[in-house]
C-alpha cells in the first residue's frame, strides 16, 4: 500500500503544471461582465454584483449536463441568500425549450441565459462541457471545473469556498485528494485482540485476556497496549515477575504510557503467588 501511494504521489509530481482552464481564459484572468439574453425575457448579466459568480455552460440532450445541473442544484441551495450568484448558459444553437426543461428537471433554480452565436463560448474557448466557471468578487476566474462523475458537487462547493476565502488552498487539496477509506490499518487486528482481552479481563477471565494479549502481540510485537494488557492479565493471575517484564516492554516502546507505569508500580516488589 505504501508503495502504491508513493507511486501515485510520484505521478502527481509528474502531472502537468498548467491548471485546467478554458482554452482562451486561464484561472486568475479577468473576465468581462456582459449582458446575455435571458430565457425568461429581457437581458441579464453573466456575473452581476456578487461575492462570487458561478456559471455553468451546458448542452441539451446531454446526460452529463443533466447530472451536472442536478449536482449544482445542491450547491445552489447551500449558498442561497449568501451572495453567490448562479447562472446557467446554453448556446442558441440548442433548443431553448429543451434547455428550459432540462434545467427545470434538474431542480436548479438559477436563471437560464442564452449565448447568441456562441460568442461567450468562443471568447472563453469552451472545449469540455458541461463546465463551471467560478468568478470572484474582483471578476477574475477563480476556478474552472468541467463535469466529473465522481466528486463534482463537493469540488465545486470547495472551489466556491476558496473564492469566498472560506477555506484555504491547503484545505481544498484535501477535498481534491482525500485520505483513502480502507477498513483497518495494519494495527487493527492487534487492536481488536486487545479490545477483546480488555473485555475478558473486565469480566474476570484473566487467562483468556492473557491469550488475547498474546494473539495481539503475535500480530504486532511492538504494540504497546498489547504488552500492557498482557501485564495486567498476568498480574491478575499473580504472576508478577512476568507482568513486570510485560509492563517494562510497554514502557520501552512508549516511555510515558501511564497504564504501564501504574501496572509496574502495582507489581513492584511482588513475587509469584
Amino acid at each position: 500500500m505504501h508503495a502504491l501511494l508513493a507511486s501515485i504521489l510520484a505521478l502527481g509530481a509528474l502531472a502537468p503544471g498548467r491548471t485546467p482552464a478554458f482554452a482562451n481564459l486561464a484561472v486568475g484572468d479577468p473576465l468581462r461582465d456582459r449582458d446575455l439574453a435571458a430565457a425568461a425575457g429581457g437581458k441579464a448579466p453573466l456575473l452581476g454584483d456578487a461575492r462570487a459568480s458561478v456559471f455553468v455552460i451546458f448542452r441539451t440532450a446531454s446526460e452529463n449536463s443533466l447530472a451536472a445541473l442536478r449536482e449544482l442544484s445542491f450547491v445552489e441551495r447551500d449558498y442561497a441568500g449568501k451572495g453567490v450568484r448562479f447562472v446557467a448558459v446554453v448556446s442558441d444553437a440548442d433548443d431553448l425549450e429543451e434547455a428550459k426543461a432540462l434545467l427545470r428537471s434538474s431542480g436548479a433554480k438559477m436563471p437560464l441565459l442564452v449565448d447568441r452565436a456562441d460568442a461567450l463560448y468562443g471568447e472563453l474557448g469552451v472545449r469540455m462541457h458541461p463546465v463551471v466557471g467560478v468568478v470572484d468578487a474582483r471578476r477574475r476566474l477563480a476556478a474552472y471545473e468541467h463535469f466529473r462523475k465522481v466528486g463534482f458537487r463537493r469540488i465545486v462547493r470547495g472551489r466556491i469556498q476558496v473564492a469566498l476565502g472560506e477555506v484555504s488552498a491547503a484545505e481544498m487539496e484535501k477535498v481534491l485528494a482525500p485520505a483513502e477509506s480502507r477498513t483497518g490499518d495494519a494495527l487493527a487486528p492487534a487492536r481488536r485482540q486487545v479490545a477483546l482481552g480488555r473485555m475478558e479481563l473486565a469480566r474476570g477471565d484473566a487467562k483468556k485476556a492473557e491469550e488475547s494479549a498474546r494473539r495481539g502481540l503475535a500480530l504486532a510485537p511492538a504494540h504497546a497496549p498489547a504488552h500492557v494488557l498482557l501485564g495486567k492479565a498476568l498480574a491478575r493471575q499473580g504472576r508478577c515477575p512476568e507482568a513486570r517484564a510485560a509492563f517494562e516492554e510497554a514502557l520501552r516502546i512508549v516511555p510515558a504510557d501511564p497504564e504501564a507505569g501504574e501496572g509496574l508500580r502495582g507489581c513492584s516488589g511482588k513475587q509469584d503467588r
Partner: protein, 307 residues
Amino acid sequence: MHAAYETGDCALCHVRNDPKNPGKPSGPVNELCFGCHDEVRDLLKREVVHWAAADACTNCHNPHGSKQPKLLVDETVALCTSCHSDVGEHVASARVKHGAVTTGAKCANCHNPHGSSVEKLLVAYPFDLCLGCHSKEGMRSADGRSLANMKEWLAQNPDWHAPIKAKDCSACHRPHGSANFRLLVATYPEKFYAPYATETYRLCFGCHNERAFRAPETTTLTNFRNGAKNLHFVHVNKEDRGRTCRACHEVHASKQSHHIREGVPYGPKGWILRLNYVKTARGGSCAKTCHETRSYDNQTVVAHPAK
C-alpha cells in the same frame, strides 16, 4: 468464526452467559461491534456513509461465524447486489466484463462498504483506484486483450486528457461492465478509420461538442481551424477513411500539447508514421505525415497549393 464467539463467553455481547439462552445483545449492536472494531466507527463518521452499515453491522456480517471472509452473511457480490440489484443486473448482462468486480475483494476492491470520503463509497477517487491495478506489465482484459501499464504511460506523457487530470476514469470507462469495448461508457469506433456519424462518437461527445466536428466552418467551436475552415470537420468527415480521434490524439496522455500523438502505426509491421506536429501561438503544422506538410492559423488563413 468470530473471535468473540470463539471465547464461548456469550456475555461479551449478550445479556447472559448461557449458550442455550444468551438473551438479547447487551447494548446497541453497532456499539458492541465498535468496542473492538473501532476503525469502522471512524469510517462511519466520514462524509459518505453506507446506510446498511450505519443501521446494523449484522445486516452484512454474522457475529457468530460464516463460511465467507469477513464474516459476511453471503458471498460478496451476491450480498451487495441483494440490495443493489441494478448493479447486479448490469454486471451480469455486460458484454465486456471488468475483472475487478469478480476477483480479489470483488466489490470491496473499489468500494468501502462502511463509509468513505468519496461519493459512491469509493475507497479513493477513480484514478487512484484504477492505477492500483493498471500499473503493471502483462495485464490482460477479460477477453484476453493486452492492457497498457497506465501508470508508466502517464509518467512518460505529461499532457493528460482532462478526465485523467480530474482523476475521473469513470468519465470514459464503466467499471461494472459495459456493452462497449474497453469498458467505454458509450460508443466509440473500434477501428482506426470510420465513417463519421455522431452516433458512433457518443463517448467523446459526452464532453466535447459534436458541433465542433460537423460544422464545416466556425470561428468559435475549435481552434483547430485555418481561418474559419474547421479542420476537425475536414479530418473526420470522410465516407470511407474518416479519421477517428485516435488518428491524431492519444486518449490518455501524450508528450505533445492537445494530446497530439507522436505517430501512428502504419502497415502490417506497425511502422510508426510520425505526425511531426509543431504547435504555434495561433495554430500549428503537421509535416510529412498522412499528408504533405500543412500549417494552420486560426486567425488568418494559411494558403496551401492545390493538390
